[in-house]
Amino acid sequence: MKLIKAIFKPHRLDAVREAMGEVGIQGMTVSEVKGFGRQKGQTEIYRGAEYQVYFVPKVQLETVVPDELADRAVEAIAAAARTDRIGDGKIFVLDVDRAVRIRTGEEGDEAL
């Protein structure tokens, strides 16, 4: 199994979730993160003072999928998250040793 960890722009979340559904992936976990990268944070101005905000809000999606689905999932995320603008984000794939569904105790691909 593979852990796919994707970091992308928050407003693409709905599109990515749908794309995942089309690939047949139902389970995923999402968190809000702050990104640092080529895309720089914004400058905010209050009362004439500039505030440098270094980070950019991103969402991180993590999903564990059977090996054979991993590549399709990566392509699906990449396509759905893409806006062709700087700051679109990254997808990383890691190897997973073991997976357990808490409710049933099922293991491996069954658990996903």
Partner: protein, 457 residues
């Protein structure tokens, strides 16, 4: 309008002490110019001829509630939203604690120093004859309202003045220093200046116009804020690496409460429910609206985006600027004050930070001090009837009045600065003014008060 000529020696008890039972300005001004009488009852219940007015009393009771509301929660939210989330509680704590300390000090003696009979030293300071409200009962009158109501109304001004200074030192100050500074400052700066102008002191004698506190409140607080900021030093990362206001909606909520409460501040300063109160409320509102739009408009031009924090800051600048003039100018004067307040205070805010590099963190001087001084000077000119103003006292020229106003502002500024410096020098050497760097990074909420602002899970 309510001013005797600088050379004329007409006593004047400050606009606060005016009898307000008459309803036309003509009559009212006349009574004022009959200065000695007005001054007479400023000494308290002796003037038995006065009669309680239910309408006036109802409005000043209400105004007292409105002005307390300005500080709590108005100013507390206005300021607390501007700091980092990890200091939000400390700012509110400062506002609450300063209010409590000042209230007790006002009872214990500060009211008496400001409004009591000073005897031989009356020009400089009131006596302690009314400390702990000695001799004042529910049946004592001050003009047409009970003296306890006058005491309370004035107390809410005494609360908000040192509370304004809270904006100079957040996110790094020691709590003990806040309390001690506010207490001593009330006695050494606020009470005397209040006496000079509203308690029948020497500036009142000279005919200084300060309807609701451009000098007594905003000049004292604004100038002292610069001194405090300088003595304390800037926040880590000032001015380039600070965090933005953590909750602009909270800032705006507080500013709106200040707006509503300011109706009590300015219209209540007429000390009665009459046309003067109505006109004061009107010009207050117009100046605020104008300054808000001007501030936001300049932001729009400069940065392409008008901001919420900006528009409400302009609002408060407009309110502070009209304060000394609210009894003397008409709607046109209010618009002029608003335009200048919205542009001048915005420029001043940048100038303080980036040229002078003073970390008066929440812009107390730029917004309140600058605005109050501006209005205190402008009133000398804008009171002219040609601009819809109510006119100056008989025989007083604009130049005369401008001179008096400048003198009053200047002396008040120097005294506020010097006294604040002295108080802070002592405190720095004893309890200390500033927390450690690690405490500053962790935030005052958890380190000084053991609490966290938001636990949203």
């Amino acid at each position: 309008m309510p001013a005797g000529g600088p050379g004329g020696g007409t006593p004047n008890d400050g606009n606060r002490g005016q009898p307000t039972t008459m309803t036309t300005i003509g009559v009212r001004t006349g009574a004022l110019l009959a200065g000695v009488a007005a001054y007479g009852w400023a000494m308290g219940p002796a003037a038995a001829a006065d009669e309680l007015s239910g309408g006036d009393t109802a409005w000043i009771l209400t105004s007292t509630a409105l002005v307390l509301f300005m500080t709590l929660p108005g100013l507390a939210l206005f300021y607390a939203g501007l700091v980092r989330a990890r200091n939000v509680l400390s700012v509110i704590m400062h506002c609450v604690a300063v209010a409590c300390v000042v209230s007790l000090a006002w009872l214990a003696g500060a009211y008496s120093l400001a409004f009591g009979d000073g005897g031989a030293s009356q020009a400089w300071i009131g006596g302690l004859g009314k400390a702990m409200l000695a001799g004042v009962g529910a049946d004592s009158l001050w003009g047409t309202i009970p003296e306890p109501v006058f005491f309370m109304f004035q107390m809410t001004f005494a609360i908000i003045t040192p509370a304004l200074i809270i904006g100079a030192y957040p996110e790094r100050v020691r709590f003990a220093a806040v309390l001690l500074f506010s207490l001593v400052w009330l006695a050494v700066v606020y009470a005397p200046v209040c006496h000079w102008i509203w308690g029948g002191g020497w500036l009142a004698e000279m005919g200084t116009i300060d309807f609701a506190g451009g000098i007594v409140v905003h000049t004292t607080a604004g100038v002292s804020s610069i001194v405090f900021a300088l003595m304390l030093g800037p926040r880590r990362g000032f001015p380039s690496e600070l965090r933005p206001p953590h909750n602009p909606g909270m800032v705006a909520t507080g500013a709106c409460m200040l707006w509503v409460g300011w109706f009590g501040f300015n219209a209540g300063s007429a000390l009665g429910a009459n046309g003067s109160a109505g006109m004061a409320m009107l010009v207050t509102h117009i100046s605020a609206s104008t300054a808000a739009l001007v501030w936001a408009g300049i932001e729009w031009l400069r940065y392409g985006r008008p901001s919420l924090v900006g528009i409400v800051t302009g609002l408060v600048a407009g309110l502070a600027s009209i304060t000394p003039a609210a009894g003397s100018v008409g709607p046109v004067g209010a618009v002029i004050i608003g335009v200048i307040a919205g542009s001048f205070c915005q420029w001043l805010s940048g100038f303080m930070k980036f040229r002078l590099r003073v970390d008066d963190s929440l812009d107390v001087f730029a917004v309140h001090g600058g605005g109050g001084i501006l209005g205190s000077i402008l009133v000398g000119a804008l009171a002219v009837p040609a601009l819809g103003g109510l006119g100056l006292a008989d025989g007083v020229s604009i130049a005369d009045q401008l001179g008096v106003q400048a003198l009053a502002v200047g002396v008040t500024a120097v005294w506020s600065a010097a006294a604040s410096w002295a108080i802070l020098a002592v405190l720095r050497a004893t309890v200390g003014l500033r927390v450690s760097e690690e405490t500053e990074i962790e935030g005052l909420d958890i380190t000084a008060h053991g609490e966290r602002g938001y636990e949203l899970t």
